[in-house]
Amino acid sequence: MKTYDIVIIGGGPAGLAAAVSARKQGEESIVILERDKELGGILNQCIHNGFGLHTFQEELTGPEYAARFMKQVEELGIEYRLNTMVVEISSDKVVTAMSRRDGMYQIRAKALILAMGCRERARGALNIPGYRPAGIYSAGTAQRLVNKEGFMPGRKVVILGSGDIGLIMARRMTLEGAEVKVVAELMPYSGGLKRNIVQCLDDYDIPLKLSHTVIDIKGKERVEGIVLAEVDETNRPIPGTEEFYECDTLLLSVGLIPENELSAQMGIALSNVTSGPVVDESLETNLDGVFACGNVLHVHDLVDFVSEEAATAGKNAACYVKNERMKSGISIPIKAENGVRYTVPSRIDPERMEEKQIVRFRVGKVYKNCRICAFLDGEQIISRKRPVVAPGEMEQVILKKEWFEQPPECTDGSGHELIIRIEE
């Protein structure tokens, strides 16, 4: 069985950035396993612009952003295997993979980086009643059909869900020749970036109906229409608000779920909130030497942050292989409170942490004129004013290592308390 120092599962933006970062730490033995016929992952079908301002200080399209990292992977001579599906990973880091060319085989990893990305929530999870005709697509599937194959999944379209993919697809379908009748959003706020509402909906006069959902799908063979209704505060449809929209297509952009079936199988502890692995400051999971980054860890809005996070995972995996930066044994749990739904990481080793440790999180609802606060052992260490925070936009705080230099006596971390919360 061939052994690599680092095996990276997934060659999308997370996997690529992790590989580049690990190589830059001097790590020679790396392989990326990618199930598609090319590297780049979902970026290849995200042909719109808006990527990379943070990383490259210019606005790129998805394929251009991916190409920048692919170029580095090539230049650094990092090995990758395409058309390769990982079917199983054992808890001692033996990866079983298959491809047309190489058949079914196993490789052993000293360190493993999980970068499998996420999948779209499907109709079933929403329990939308009605028939099950052709013409119901998740937004990402429609995006692939249009942008990679040049096919139109429909002519008259209703979109449920105002996440970024839904908004981007509203514009794409319009540009490519369909009529987008409405975008409906269950929540009283959009799940997408504000600028996407401007440039994808407002530019094309596509209405956005907040607090609305699809309550019936008409048409036995192909979608013939949908019924939209307003919902109350408990998300229940309000009788009398039903409205029929004639359409042949319903696109769903109702959330992304980290793809962690392999992780769960190998015994990695997952968070109930993010559906991603529970990780410490090094993005290491409960299994030694197994790291996670990108959308498999928690769903991001911006690929730039995926790349940044993945670079951290890559660096830490390289350190792990070289037995550098060992765990101190102290692990301070981060408590997400009052509006903060979760944090990544959720534990901090004060010795292993970065000089400036980024902690990312999402809030549970829209807060206006609030403060993002952090408390260490009861003492306020951060209080940052924000005009508005929303569930659709990931937030972060930066913890300085110096704050943790004189920790209280107990060494199991239980004596410490680190809290991140929203204060109104």
Partner: protein
């Protein structure tokens, strides 16, 4: 002229076709949909009932117990998924224990073996997620689960291999007795029944000496076309939740609720593929095509699901669906030749336990026809069939060998169910092969997993298009007007005058 025309390629029609294919007889099956297993047979609980439910002495009771006994050997002959997992009927109210005992007695009368009544402790030891309100359960170790598609498709494929012709997208419009004058050569056949039938369909006219009416919820329509003694089949809708495989081990047997103060409950069962199934509801409809889910129906399942089984992880629902049972007013299978229409054989009112009974129904109807026509066995009958290879059952070495031999097995198409191009090609090219996305799904499970075909559908469509030489725009989800693609990007700009 066919000796026998079977209307309907559901599980009953396919079973009858397969049983008839043992004999030297010219049989065809007419199906209005594009594939086998498109009506009642595709949307049900997939339970192989033990047989304690039906009234002793009824045809339902007899065929249920017979069908149950046949299922295991049939599953080996025809290579479909079946597991004898057993079932519980759960009683949660002390005062209803006599009802549970009555059910046991009825089962014994029907010939169901090994029925036992268990106390709460014993039951919970076997099924730890049973409700704490459990008082007693009726345990039927002979009950089981089957893949409803697998059973139906296997029987149809085997019938086709043995010479039965299947005509799809062929909707029967009228059935008439032929006048003898139209068949001068058969004038000596003075008996009415030898005159046969003329069947007009959406795809031309068929002639048959015998008709088998296995048309599910439409069986009354065809029956009433020829008979004066009218019957009525009511579509009785059942709605279901299918949960992710992560929830599949929540119970290991099929858990029914003993009807009690909550009315008729819903069942909770593992499926043969390891998912968890919860349902069905029961709503009578007029619309024979009304297999849509409803907000009320789904709410009812949610509400009732916890009555007998606790902590069902309903957030793991991956899809909901509805099926229509072919409910006949007398709640009995109507199987046999019509008294007033010799040559016309009903197979109507086949609702639960119809799936379990299917193998026995096939035998029974074929038996009737064998006697009428004095059929001789076909020495070339091939009674076994190999299903689509399931590489997940192979060892790593065997799996590797398979891919080396046929690289299509190394190209993963459905990541949720782990279905490769190899299985999909097999599904397309075998007898009565798949022509649509749903056809692929029923044969291979590609698209049936947690992402519900979001990932694999474009890939499966490419394969279908390439293999069947059908343009992408013509491909369907399930035949008819269920086209998946409406055209090409930017085509609305074509033909516009340049400014």
């Amino acid at each position: 002229m066919y000796d026998v025309v079977i209307i309907g390629a559901g599980v009953s029609g396919s079973s009858i076709a397969r049983e008839l294919s043992r004999y030297q007889v010219n049989v065809c099956v007419l199906e209005k949909e594009e594939d086998v297993c498109c009506g009642t047979s595709k949307a049900n609980s997939g339970i192989v009932h033990a047989g304690y439910d039906a009234e002793p002495g009824s045809l339902m009771a007899k065929l249920n117990v017979q069908g149950n006994k046949m299922m295991e050997s049939l599953s080996k002959e025809l290579d479909f998924s079946f597991a004898r997992t057993g079932s519980f009927v759960v009683c949660t109210e002390e005062e209803n224990i006599p009802k549970l005992e009555a059910l046991q007695k009825r089962g014994i009368k029907n010939g169901v073996e090994n029925l036992q009544i268990l106390g709460k402790e014993e039951a919970l030891a076997m099924e730890p997620n049973l409700s704490e309100d459990t008082v007693a359960v009726l345990y039927a170790p002979t009950a089981g689960i089957v893949c409803p598609f697998g059973l139906n498709i296997a029987m149809a494929e085997n019938a086709a291999v043995n010479g039965v012709s299947f005509f799809f997208d062929t909707k029967v419009e009228t059935i008439e007795r032929m006048r003898l004058a139209e068949h001068p050569g058969t004038s000596e056949l003075s008996e009415n029944e030898k005159a046969g039938f003329q069947i007009k369909t959406s795809r031309g006219t068929f002639e048959a000496k015998y008709i088998v009416n296995a048309a599910g919820v439409y069986a009354d329509r065809f029956h009433n076309m020829v008979s004066e003694k009218k019957i009525k089949i009511t579509p009785r809708k059942g709605e279901y939740f299918l949960l992710d495989k992560s929830a599949g081990k929540h119970v290991s047997r099929t858990i029914f609720a003993l009807p009690g103060k909550y009315g008729k409950g819903v069942l909770v069962s593992q499926t043969v593929h390891g998912n968890l199934l919860v349902g069905p509801t029961a709503t009578d409809l007029d619309d024979k095509e009304g297999n849509y889910t409803t907000a009320d129906g789904l709410a009812e399942i949610r509400e009732k699901s916890g009555n007998c089984v606790k902590n069902i992880p309903l957030r793991s629902v991956i899809t909901s669906f509805a099926g229509l049972r072919a409910h006949e007013e007398g709640h009995e299978f109507l199987i046999g030749e019509l008294e007033d229409v010799p040559g016309f054989i009903d197979c109507a009112g086949i609702e639960s336990p119809g799936l379990t009974s299917a193998p026995a129904i096939g035998k029974m109807v074929a038996g009737i026809l064998k006697e009428k026509m004095d059929l001789k066995e076909d020495p070339n009958f091939q009674g076994t069939r190999k299903g689509i290879l399931d590489p997940s059952r192979l060892s790593l070495e065997e799996h590797n060998e398979l891919i080396q031999k046929n690289p299509a097995y190394g190209n993963m198409i459905c990541r949720c169910e782990m279905i490769s191009e190899g299985e999909i090609l097999d599904a397309i090219h075998r007898p009565l092969g798949a022509k649509s996305l749903d056809g692929i799904k029923r044969r291979t499970r590609a698209g049936m997993g947690r992402c519900q075909s979001g990932f694999c559908s474009p890939r499966t469509m490419e394969i279908l298009s390439r293999e069947l030489k059908v343009p992408m725009e013509e491909l369907t989800k399930s035949g008819g007007g269920s086209k998946l693609i409406t055209g090409h990007s930017k085509e609305i700009y074509q033909g516009e005058d340049a400014e």
